[in-house]
């Protein structure tokens, strides 16, 4: 599903002493099948932006189209449930949403609400468990007996079991150790391709955005500050610093290398080993 924002503004508690403009005149286009990273500081409007994607919020001004669904100021789409079943959201610390007595029931909760049949749910559970790296032996256990990392996987399985076409990830790796972070991101990256998903990733990690996203949107104080391909955005060190963001470490290093050695290393999202090879060649005067 294509996602289109047309001049979207969102104001919390308009015309009250608590009025707060969270999004201001945002227009964007996220084509179906893309992997988009949304970056910005706390309070930049990221959370408000993604809460529009499944109709939890409606724009105060402007229009949003998600596939055939339209969201405007006073018009919720006719079938909000249908929208929510097709746009899955993995919230920050999603393990906080677990509540059922067994892992099986918790995973089944979403699809059941969306009217999926029992047999279909059962087959989906068998499908998503290996995808999130959990064994079937956990199905009968209480989710509250699991480790933090496992609980998060159960919560993610619950979102995947609704078979969304768009998946929204709000800092999905927060609080995990480096191995857990990597596993979770690799998992979503794999699913993005195998399930033909449209993925919207909210993150603070420039490294993750660089590694996984094919398009980056930078928000600042509720406005769209920059957008483009990661390799084009992340080389703009000055512009990023201006809104208090850092460039990925590899970009930082390339920039200082170029300065010291008075040379150019074009940045094309190369891996560390590609970069090392390039530098080695340059030093030997081959490149």
């Amino acid at each position: 599903m294509d996602i289109i924002f047309k001049n979207v503004t969102h104001i919390y508690q308009p015309r009250s002493p608590f009025e707060h403009i969270a999004l201001k005149d945002i227009s964007l286009f996220i084509p179906s099948g893309s992997f988009v990273a949304v970056i910005g500081h706390t309070g930049s409007g990221k959370s408000t932006l993604i809460s529009h994607l499944n109709g939890l919020s409606l724009p105060t001004e402007g229009e949003i189209r998600i596939g055939e669904f339209t969201l405007t100021k006073d018009k919720k789409p006719e079938n909000l449930m249908e929208l929510r079943s097709r746009v899955g959201v993995v919230f920050q610390y999603p393990e906080h949403q677990l509540f059922e007595e067994s892992v099986r029931k918790d995973i089944a909760f979403g699809p059941k609400n969306f009217g999926v049949s029992e047999e279909e749910i059962e087959s989906r559970i068998r499908e998503v468990l290996p995808a999130v790296g959990l064994s079937e032996s956990l199905l009968a256990r209480s989710p509250f007996d699991l480790s933090g990392g496992q609980m998060r996987r159960v919560a993610i399985a619950g979102v995947l079991a609704t078979k969304p076409e768009v998946i929204v990830l709000d800092e999905p790796t927060a609080g995990l150790d480096p191995r857990g972070q990597k596993e979770i991101m690799e998992m979503f990256y794999h699913l993005h391709h195998s399930e033909n998903l449209t993925t919207v990733l909210v993150t603070h990690s420039m490294e993750d955005a660089l590694k996984y996203a094919d398009y980056v949107i930078i928000l600042n104080k509720g406005k769209k500050y920059m957008e483009g391909k990661p390799e084009d955005i992340f080389i703009q060190k000055e512009a990023l610093h201006q809104v208090g963001l850092d460039v990925p470490e590899i970009v930082e290093f390339i920039a200082s290398f170029e300065e010291k050695f008075q040379t150019k290393i074009p940045f094309h999202n190369q891996s560390i080993s590609q970069l090392a090879q390039h530098i080695a060649e340059q030093l030997r005067g081959v490149g």
Binding site: T42, G180, F257, K260, A276, L283, G285
Partner: protein, 279 residues
């Protein structure tokens, strides 16, 4: 060498008899004015070390001493004055209704007189850069600000040891930077023994020494650059190395012989420059 502030001797711990050991025969020492980072994947036992140091847990085997004084049921209240702790969740350790009440909490527990409290609240809030927020309520603060208040609260009882138990894990990069900046300054000026338990490699690089935990045991211990030179082994136990270290390792593979294990970009550039000028 001077007497260590913290000594862990052959410490083993488990939550109860039917459960596996969380820590197995762990020994180390930490000195005054030393910054030690403890790393390890979740469940490696690193947070248990923090709780043992503060007498929130007691070991089944071995002995833990602070300034030569062993931690046990009798000494624990004195020990807690020496060992300050900041936990992971900024919300769940903010006791006071306002910033100044929270900073006062630890001092009130120790019966410190009012005038002295007033003075120390000012001092410590200044020290963590929160001087203007004395009367602010917690829900109006960011996570990073709350953690800085937590640090001020701990400092107010002037401990000798400060432990940050994943205190930056729930913060955004800006909040993390604020905290680490504050802590690095305080450690220097107050000559604290600082222990940071963390996954953040930038924090580890700044430490004087690193202790790597794995499966409840000390897997390795050394200078950050020594530890990070073992990239492949670290990755096997679920840990990462900083970008510069990883790049240096790749360069070595490409036949670039570096003189040292660089931790910072400038170091690597210098080494490369030296090599380049010889070529």
């Amino acid at each position: 060498m001077a007497k260590p502030v913290i000594s862990f001797q052959n410490v083993s711990f488990r939550y109860d008899e039917n459960q596996p050991w969380v820590l197995k025969n762990v020994s180390f020492e930490i000195h005054k004015n030393e910054w030690v980072a403890i790393i390890g994947h979740n469940g490696s036992g690193k947070s248990t070390i923090a709780k043992l140091l503060n007498g929130l847990l007691f070991p089944q085997k071995g002995e833990i001493a602070i300034n030569g004084k062993p931690i046990n049921e009798e000494t624990v209240w004195d020990i807690r004055k020496e060992v300050g702790m900041v936990f992971q969740n900024p919300d769940n350790q903010f006791v006071g209704a306002t910033v100044q009440d929270d900073v006062a909490f630890g001092m009130e527990n120790r019966g410190i007189p009012r005038e002295e409290m007033e003075k120390r609240i000012d001092e410590t809030l200044q020290a963590v850069g929160m001087g203007e927020y004395r009367l602010t309520e917690p829900h109006r603060l960011s996570g990073g600000q709350k953690q800085r208040v937590a640090i001020a609260s701990v400092l107010a009882v002037s401990p000798e040891v400060l432990i940050l138990d994943e205190a930056t894990a729930m913060l955004d990069p800006r909040g993390r930077e604020e905290i680490m900046h504050t802590v690095a300054n305080l450690q220097q000026s107050k000559e604290l023994a600082l222990i940071t338990i963390t996954h953040d490699l930038h924090e580890v690089v700044q430490a004087d020494r690193v202790i790597v935990m794995n499966e409840g045991e000390i897997w390795d211990e050394g200078l950050p650059r020594e530890i990070f030179s073992k990239k492949d082994e670290l990755q096997k136990i679920g840990l990462d190395v900083p970008f510069i270290t990883a790049l240096a390792a790749e360069l070595q593979k490409n036949g670039i012989a570096l003189q040292r294990e660089p931790l910072y970009g400038e170091e690597l550039l210098e080494d490369l420059w030296t090599l380049y000028s010889k070529m």
